[in-house]
Assembly symmetry: C2
Homo-oligomer: 153 residues x 2
Amino acid sequence: MKPIDEIDRKLLNELQVNSRITIRELSEKLHLSTTPIHERIKKLEKGGYIKQYVTLLDPKKFDKKLMVYISVSLRDHAKEAVEAFEQEIEQLDEVMECYYISGSSDFLLKVFCDDMDGFHDFITNKFSTIDNITQFYSSFVMYGSKVKYDFKL
Amino acid sequence: MKPIDEIDRKLLNELQVNSRITIRELSEKLHLSTTPIHERIKKLEKGGYIKQYVTLLDPKKFDKKLMVYISVSLRDHAKEAVEAFEQEIEQLDEVMECYYISGSSDFLLKVFCDDMDGFHDFITNKFSTIDNITQFYSSFVMYGSKVKYDFKL
DNA sequence: CGTGAAACTAAAATGAT
DNA sequence: ATCATTTTAGTTTCACG
């Protein structure tokens, strides 16, 4: 697909940090009428540049007070075994992100739990019942000093 | 602030996965008129339940083809030294997330770069110039088998 | 690719229950 | 706290430059 120009960049920079901005507001900020703004957004959606418009909640307001990164090592690294692991992870609501990584472990998981009791329950009753895990290491997040979702375009 | 009820939960579940949904659509899905939907959203925003409406882009479409997790160990763990490190990280556009964690390292960083050359440049010219870093370990993300931003409410 | 206006659709404010 | 209505604002399409 055709490359993105300066107007698209400005458009996306606004949308990244506020997805509920109106087309009117965007047209004023970019000094264009609403028509090209509307058409460009549709084009960027169809072209796959825009993946999703999401609402970020405050996890702590919903009792998700604990964020944990878990490094996981598997025993069997065959394609089927890895995919089976991924499918099991897919079922777990607590796992927000799961990445296949290079290095000393195989997967890195970002997990949200209510608290330590909830994490204990997650590990004993859900996570550690998954076969093919040889070992895992949990890093508890004490706080986030930087969290953003927008790229500098 | 007062607790969230079943209607708020449904509302937030819809908004989490599509922040550009209209109030009308929400009113149809929840079998309510637009007024309470509108008021509830405003209340959830003011109450801090809703943090931000963001647009997620496809990093690969913007040449951010490499995602790397970096575990960082610091030499000095005094409050001022840790805050100084955080402030340096704040300046780096490549760092999307930075967490202070428990365990064998101090910080975990999520970093996006164009490619290996870009990562090399980031490490040599930006990251490793930060004082107080004793060692760091990079895990390259080969792929994400699960990435979501919505909590099950 | 862009403008500007028309027609359509939705949001916000109001008063009533 | 919700509904029905009105007013205000935003979206979308189209003829045209």
